[in-house]
Symmetry: C2
Subunit: 308 residues, 2 copies
């Protein structure tokens, strides 16, 4: 007989119960008890949700370790979702390789889950949102890590209350992206590898300059920190900056409406994905004959399937 799925049950059952609940969500996201569980969790949020994004090599994993230890040391419980971008082809999440997090498996106050970004359709939206909502009701902090350039950086906006963008000193492209419309996205910018000295300071100044050109929509002044995760410097400041933004969202009354907008955006993505999938199913065989034009075929399929 399957375990009854309730928020209270998951809460009292610890990490093992949470892992089982996530498996149930994954297996039957439309099951009534799954929807009941998620709806209850959605209505009773506890955690602040921080999203961390940035290009590979920037040092996100080290930073993540520092953040988890910092919060845990302060007595907070932390759940972490590492979104694996490469799993579309390989088919599964690669927890060991990707997250490189050193956490104590016996500690019930730290839960780490690696999730596949399984499909382009819906992006992060898929199960990441369900997992986040459930964890948000159970922990003090939820951390979501995405490796990202461009698109993924905007994806994390759909799930996190506070977006931390990690920038590497000496990589001109980070600034390219700052210029190219990403500047409005982060609530905190972390310039990593401060041990690089002058280069890191220049990167910091460049980021501050780029930010000054953009208007942040919600009257929040974006802190730009330099950190050395290797030396353990700057983690406390980063935690303070994230908590500062959390306080700003609560005090300005924006948190609830932000989360409602995110949930609505997720809903639109999901409806689009479901109907898209259904369309492909109804279209039937979509292979092409040798030399057959995909453009003509698409126009035929579209005509056939949409009533005039």
């Amino acid at each position: 007989m399957p375990e009854q799925l309730t928020l209270a049950g998951v809460r009292s059952g610890g990490k093992a119960a949470l892992a089982r609940a996530l498996a149930r969500i994954e297996k039957g996201p439309d099951d009534t008890d799954v929807i009941d569980l998620l709806s209850e969790a959605y209505r009773t949020p506890v955690a602040h949700v921080a999203g961390m994004t940035g290009p590979p090599g920037v040092g996100k994993s080290t930073l993540l370790n520092g953040l988890i230890q910092g919060w845990r040391g302060g007595g907070k419980t932390v759940a972490c979702i590492a979104v694996d971008p490469s799993s579309r082809r390989s088919g599964g999440a690669l927890l060991g390789d990707r997250t490189r997090l050193s956490t104590d498996p016996e500690d019930q106050g730290i839960f780490v889950r690696s999730m596949a970004a399984r499909d382009r359709l819906g992006g992060l939206a898929g199960l990441t949102v369900q997992a986040m909502v459930l964890m948000r009701a159970l922990f003090d902090v939820v951390l979501i890590e995405t490796v990202g350039v461009g698109q993924s950086e905007t994806d994390v906006v759909g799930v996190a209350d506070t977006v931390v963008l990690c920038v590497q000193p000496g990589s001109g492209d980070s600034l390219q992206f700052m210029k190219a419309g990403i500047a409005e996205i982060p609530h905190v910018v972390a310039v990593t590898k401060a041990d690089m000295g002058a280069v890191a300071e220049r990167a910091r100044a460049d980021v501050v300059g780029a930010l000054s050109l953009s208007d942040h929509p919600d009257s929040w002044e974006v802190p730009v920190l330099t950190l050395s995760a290797q030396q353990g410097r700057g983690i406390d400041e980063l935690i303070a900056a994230i908590e500062g933004h959390a306080g700003h969202l609560r005090q300005s009354g924006q948190l609830d409406s932000l989360r409602q907008r995110q949930a609505s955006g997720w809903l639109v993505d999901q409806v689009r994905e479901r109907f898209g999938r259904e369309g492909v199913r109804r279209a039937g065989y979509l292979g092409l004959e040798r030399g057959e034009s995909p453009f003509r075929r698409l126009s035929e399929v579209s005509r056939f399937l949409s009533p005039p």
Copy 2:
């Protein structure tokens, strides 16, 4: 009266005619004359299509400049599509900032177009594929640049005959991705910044090691080159490697079937996107009330819209 849209007309009209044709495709991708043009172009490919991808900061733009000049110097005509990943939020392609290509605007043998990756849905698939198909019928080489980690790297597989992955020495994450299922994707790996000496050599050795663990599906041995675009070293070798892979595809008879598979994949993506969009339209208002569960709402919408 609008100009008649034919492949011969675009060919004889030079870059200005191509730019007008692309504008027509963008404006009315389902117009009969657009579909006729694209179908003709699809049936008469000329160019080899090379896709270049890799994380920001790796030096792709410099490399791209070198490749364009190298091919052009050899008398070939080159079209280049730079896919702008950041345009989802900012709403438009940012040609000037993003591509940093120094080409002679008078030269009719070089055409550069920056394209927005406008929507997650369909990814690269949207207009990039139409532009590529048209350019493929008109130029000797088509180069597609995507900034990418994870997902985008797999996207370019859907449009390019030869995928070149650029890897930066000293960035451990490149290797993470090689391990995490990306190793099967590139046909050529370019380790940039060879001027870094021993670090570049170690990166090269690491990549060779990672590749040796994966089976490349089509019996092609992936060349791993070290380049210094700054010093202009290695560009000839990269061109030779890309042309070597082009020859391999032709001689082994794989090129046609590869392109047919790509076109079929594009078709599936497009059908999914169109029906997804139609589903969102039919679902109507998808905003949420305060406290209303998006999970419950999704299950209601799904039930309402799919007949039992």
